[in-house]
Structure formats: C-alpha cells, structure tokens
Amino acid sequence: MLLDFVLPAHDRKLIPEGRLSGPMPWVIAIMLFLTLLVAAGGLTLAEAARQGGQDLARQVTVQIIESDPAQRAAQRAAVTRALRKLDSIAEVKPVPDAQVRALLEPWLGTGVIDADVPVPALVDVRFASVPTAETITRLQSTLRSVAPNIRVDSHSSWMAPFFELMRALLWLAAAVFLLLLVATSAVVILAVRSTLNTHRETIEIMHMMGGTDVQAARLFQRRVALDALLGGAVGFIVAAVVIVTVGDRFAAVEPGLLSGAHFPYYGWAILALIPLAVMALAMLMARMTVISALKRIL
C-alpha cells in the first residue's frame, strides 16, 4: 500500500497537488507538533519514573532519636560503622547536623534551633540493590543493638504517591497521544472527503473509462502522503526546538525530584518515527475513505 505513494508523472496531474497551499499540511503540522510534545512529555516522565524509582527504592534514611547530643553523635558514629560493615549496602552518608538544621529552618524559623533542641541525627543509606521489606526490618533490628531509638525510613514509601502521580500522568499522556492520533485521522478523512468532492467529476470520468477504485485511491493517497510528510516535517522541527529548549531549562533546575527528568536519547528515534507513522496512517485513512466513497457510486 505504501508503495502506491509512487505514481507516474502523468497520473499525478489527475488531481493537482498544491504544495502547502491548502490548510491540510498546516493542520497536520499543528496536530503533529502537539502529538510530539505529548510523546516527549510521556517519554520524559517514563524515564524519570524509571530512573528515580530505581534510585529511590534503594535509599533509606536512618533516624537516631536521642536527646543527649553527645550520645546522639556517638550512636550516629556507631550506626555508620555498623552499616559500612554490611555487604548489601553500597553507600553510607551521615548527614551533618548543620544540614539537618538547614532542612528544618523553613518550618521552624532561623535561629530557633540551637544545640539544646533535640533534632534527630540522620544517616543516608543506599543499598546495592532494591531491598525487600524483610531486609529493612532485619537492618532495623541490627542497628537497634548499637542505637536503641532508631527508625529506618524507606524513601520509596514516602515517594509512592509521587510515583503514582507520575504513572497517572503517563496514562494521561498516552490517552492524549491516542486522542491526537484520532483527531489527525479525522482531519485526514475530512480533507480527503473535501478533495474527493472537489474532484468528483474527474473521478467519475476515470470510473466511466474503466478506472478502478484502487487507481483513484492512489491519487488521493499520494496527495495526502505529501501533505502529511510536509506537515510532519514542520511539526517535527518546531517540536524538536521546543523539546531542546525546555530540556535545557530542566537541566538548569537544581537536582531533586526532577533529577531523573530528562528526555532520553532513544526518544528522538521514537519521535522521528511518529511523523512517518502518521503519514502511513493518513495514507491508510485516505485509501479507506476514497474506496468507501466510491463504492456508493456504481
């Protein structure tokens, strides 16, 4: 069917092809621009969820709750030593007290926290692989032998709502992507019907001379394919500029929740395939529309 795109020069004359003269290439360009943005957003979310999820699922924070600052410091050192002895742990990073105070300052105010306020000591831990709930319970009991009042917080548990949101957004992106494809198909069908009406006389003459439905459909397929190709190229270029620009802005954001949110390189290959897929879809829709319309005349 796609090979029907190639037509002899004389057949191309049957339905005049106006390069970018009608609204169709521009409408396709806009639809494709939006489709590509949604696809890029979806891919970025998927990549962020994949990377961030893997990273966060391996991280826990050990809280040492002790009111005596000297004891607290000693217990933190002991916990750190105990953790470093475990093979399953890739990295242990005690959080300095100043950093903990800085974290609390937005809520408690500057200068309120002094040495007498019992702020828990924190130790960030990164497992070599994603720990199970059992591993974390075992770690908790191991650490209680050196610091009785500790709590082990898995990052994945408090980040779960965030990742659920990301998953929901991913589904939303997929739904919008599909809706845009449906809308693009509808635009193609309307454009083909309009062109068919404009050139009904030519098609009827061809029919009366023994032209087949497929011969007529090929003429429209080619015209639609060219419109989709031109619109697709314009849509892709504009979308690529937007993705690169927004990507730069994301890169400038301080690492945090959005640390994994970057557009993956393989995404460009997927984005490049979308205009081609839309072109194939447009040709298919044109063929089906023309053949179904011609079946209504003898």
């Binding site: 004389h10 006389e201 009366m208 001379m209 079946k295 003898l298």
Partner: protein
C-alpha cells in the same frame, strides 16, 4: 421448419453468445421516482451501427447510461459481452467499461488536463506505457485537427473542439462498443460528416456503435445503420430488426 426445431435452443444460445448487448424487459427508476425506462428489450450485435432517436426527455441518455454501465437496471435482465451485468460483481465492472468508449453529451473533459492528456486518459487508465501511447494520441490529434492545441486546456477550446477531443478520447482505445450522446451537436456539418466517417471506420473494424441523436438525417450517412426510437421511456422498433434481428450468420452456414 419442423426439422429446425431441435436445434433452435442451440441457435438461440449461439446468437446470444454473439450479441454485444441484450436487454430483456429492462426498467430503470431513479430513487423512488417513476420509471424513466420501461420494458426495454433489444439485442445489439457486434459490428452493427445503431441510431437512438427520440424527443428530449424520452430517456436516450438514461438508456446510454445503462449501456456504458453508469447504472444498473432497476428490473429486467441485461447481458453485455456474454455476461449478466445485473449480478456481475462491482470489481469486475472496470474491465467491462474499458471495452466501451463513451462520448458524453456535455463532453466531460478533465478541466485541468491538456488536450493530449485528455485523449490519452483511457490508455493510461488501461495501463498502456507512455512510449506506446504517444504515437496513437499524436495521430488522433492530427486526425481531429488539433495538433496545434495539444497543450491547450479544455476551457480554451471552442465547443466544437471540445467535442472532437471527447470523441477522440472515446475511440482512442479501439473500444468494442462505442456509445455517443449527441456527438455531432456542436460541430459544423463538414466536421459532423468526418466524425461519422470515423465512427463508420471503427464500425467496419468490428466496433458496435450506438449514437443518440435528434438528427434523423444522420441515418442516411451510415449504410446499414438501424434505428431505435424512444418515446416516453419505451422503445419502439420501426425497422423491426431489434426484437427480430436478421438471422445470425451461423444459420446461413
């Protein structure tokens, strides 16, 4: 006569095989309106020349539309080239249409194509290679006297010139049957005679020709031509040759 009776069904079968078109009690109705054509029965034989006459609105164009397969009858039986066209699958119709040349009353030239491309259209539809069609189309252009206008669009041609292009387009593929609706209506008498000579030449090569016309004087131009007359959608048969055609050659042998 009695001795012929056992072979009559066989003779009828041979006769039917030899017919180009057979109508048997054909009726045509557009939508839910009254019948435009009623109880039409006739047989067209290969190599025959027919004039179809009748007043305006008698149903000439509707009958021609059935002949060039633009419509199927609402009732009755219709056979063409030995096949029942009522039950013929739609996807086989293009093959039949390629065997029929049509001259439309309103010419129906493709407005954005040149004279050359309009005449070449049936050959291109039939898949003839560009190198093989250039010669016949150029020859046809010379014959209709429009060589100089080969690149002209129909809008720039006079009515007579458009009609000549329409006729050239209909005959370029050497059709087995030629159907023409008022083909000489817009040309001068000299050109009308030349066009009829072309039809007659095609007819001598075996093409069955059906010409719808108001001008009954044209009958005198073609030797042996038969006449069909339509009156309010019903066919009268002044010569009697349509319902009772001359005995097929096979009987004479």
């Amino acid at each position: 006569m009695n001795s012929l009776c056992p072979v009559m069904p066989f003779v009828a079968f041979i006769a039917s095989m030899q017919s180009v078109v057979e109508f048997d009690n054909v009726g045509l109705r557009y939508g839910t309106g009254v019948e435009t054509l009623t109880d039409i029965s006739f047989t067209l034989h290969p190599g025959s020349f027919y004039f179809l006459t009748g007043a305006s609105g008698a149903g000439k164009t509707s009958l021609l539309k059935l002949l060039y397969l633009a419509h199927r009858p609402s009732r009755g039986a219709m056979r063409m080239f030995g096949h029942d066209t009522i039950t013929l699958p739609r996807d086989r119709l293009p093959g039949f249409r390629r065997r029929i040349g049509v001259v439309f009353q309103d010419f129906r030239l493709v407005a954005h194509l040149s004279t050359f491309d309009n005449i070449a259209l049936p050959l291109r539809i039939a898949g003839i290679q560009e190198k093989d069609l250039r010669g016949p189309v150029t020859e046809m252009l010379a014959w209709i006297g429009l060589t100089e206008r080969a690149d002209a669009r129909p809008a720039t041609l006079s009515g007579g010139e458009q009609q000549r292009v329409a006729i050239a387009r209909a005959v370029i593929g050497r059709p087995e049957m030629l159907v023409a609706d008022e083909p000489t209506g817009n040309v001068d008498p000299e050109m009308a005679r030349r066009l009829l000579q072309l039809f007659a030449a095609l007819n001598k090569l075996g093409t069955t020709v059906v010409v719808a016309t108001h001008d009954i004087h044209l009958l005198q131009e073609i030797e042996g031509a038969q006449m069909m007359r339509l009156d309010k959608g019903r066919l009268s048969d002044p010569t009697g040759s349509l319902r009772h055609p001359p005995r097929p050659l096979v009987l004479d042998n």
